[in-house]
Structure formats: structure tokens, C-alpha cells
């Protein structure tokens, strides 16, 4: 059974970085929205890699997302 992984780094100045692994396609974004949507602005502007656009059948079951947080425009 596959594992879904998220690594979140909180810097001492409040910035947030994250990476996800093994969360498929749009589910990856949805998961991040649920967990970090209130904390990270412009989540929807994350750069999707080719892996994100693969169909679930061809995807290697490994996805990764990387982000750092910004405040000032976007989520409340």
C-alpha cells in the first residue's frame, strides 16, 4: 500500500515551505488547500510539473509539491 507524504517546513520568520510526495494529481492540490489554504497565499499559483498532468493510470504514484508561503495578498 502506498504512503502519502507531506513535508512542511516552518521558518523562524513564519515562512512556510512544503513538498508533497505520492499524492495524485488534483488530490495533491486539494489536500494542500485543506491543510495550508488559510496559511499560504496564492496556493493556486503553484507551478505544476509534468507529473501533475499525468493521468492517474500512467502516474508513477509519486507526486511532489514544493512551496513557500507569502502573506499580504490572497487568503485571509
Amino acid at each position: 500500500m502506498s504512503e502519502e507524504n507531506i513535508q512542511i517546513i516552518v521558518h523562524d520568520d513564519g515562512r512556510i515551505e512544503f513538498e508533497t510526495h505520492d499524492i495524485k494529481g488534483e488530490a495533491c492540490m486539494k489536500e494542500l488547500e485543506e491543510i495550508l489554504g488559510q496559511l499560504v497565499d496564492d496556493l493556486e499559483q503553484a507551478t505544476k510539473t509534468s507529473e501533475y498532468h499525468e493521468s492517474p493510470s500512467t502516474r508513477k504514484n509519486t507526486n511532489q509539491t514544493k512551496n513557500q508561503q507569502t502573506t499580504g495578498s490572497g487568503s485571509p
Binding site: I6, L36, E51, T65
Partner: protein, 205 residues
Amino acid sequence: MSTCYTQTQLNLSLTNVLCLDMAISEAGWTWNRPKLLEEIRSARQAVSAAEGTQNIIAANKSLANLLNSLSTDTLPQSITINMNGSQIQLKRSRGAYTTMVPLQQSGLQNQLKQITNLYSRNMEKINLEIQQTLDSLELQKDILSAEQLESLRGVIQSEQQAIQNTNQERVIEVTKEIEEKLVARGFEIRKRMVGKKIVYQAVRR
């Protein structure tokens, strides 16, 4: 492992009002600046204008006390920035100032990005100045009296403390929410410190 998508951060969290004030002023905009910031501004001018060792020491102590208040006073829950005729309100949420701007309002979004960029640059500037002042004090320790050194260090350390405290508040709010949400969504969390960073490794089977 392969990658789903990536995003990189452009700016810092807007936690510190002193730095936010610098950013807004640099952009040429105004805001409902808290009274404490006005007092700090006056106190800085008083330090520059002070003559004679004892007056300088007294002015520095007064400035240090006001900077200390930045760490202890309650910050405004909302602020309003006037940008070339348009106004935007930012609310304090999870230790930082933030707002919601519809995607269609690209002009407003760009103005906010400008503030966060200036904030980021000013925060770097403040941190650099703090370090440079501390270094210069070290070099002057044989020239200045103990009382002079103490008063100057007091100013710098108070400013440093104010930044650290607001950032700390943000970190506490953010980590609490992250932990709660990860657990609620069925993730097992492993938390560790790497230098000054808190690293969460969350796994869901």
C-alpha cells in the same frame, strides 16, 4: 520520487509593523499608523538631535523603551492602507497581516505584491543594520563608556526582540494549525528542529 507541482515563495509574512511602516512609506502610500510608531519615529529624531553624552544616553534609553513596547503592546487587529486613492484593509490573522483580493483585481494584487516585496527588502535591511550596529559597538567598546554602550545596545536589542517576538507569534499560530489539520486528515506527524526551522514529516497510509 517525482514532482506534482512546485511553488516558490516571493515574500515574507507581514508580521512586523515597524518594517511594514517602512515598506508602505517607501511605496509612497499611507496607513493608519499606530501611535506607538509615531512615538518611535519622534524618539529616533530625538536621538539624532541629541547632543552631549548624557542627553544621547537618555534619548537612546527612551527609544529602547518604546521599541520594547513593540514586543508587549497589542498590535492593531486591522489596518487600512491608502494606495493612490484606493483603500485596502488588512486583518491580523495567525500572527500576520493579510487580506483577500479577488483575482480580477490585478491592480490591487500588484500593489500588495509591491508592499510585500518592499517589506522583504526592508526586513533584510533592518537585520543587516542591526548586525552592523552590533559589530560597530564591539569596535567602539574601548572608546565609549559602559553606560553609552549599554544604551546603544538597548536600542538594538529591543528592535531585534520586537522582530523575533512577532515572528515567534506567527510561528506558534502556524504550527498549531498545521498540526491540527494534519492530524484531522489522518496524517501521522514526525516533528523535528533543523537549525531554526521546524520540519514536519507527515505520512498517511
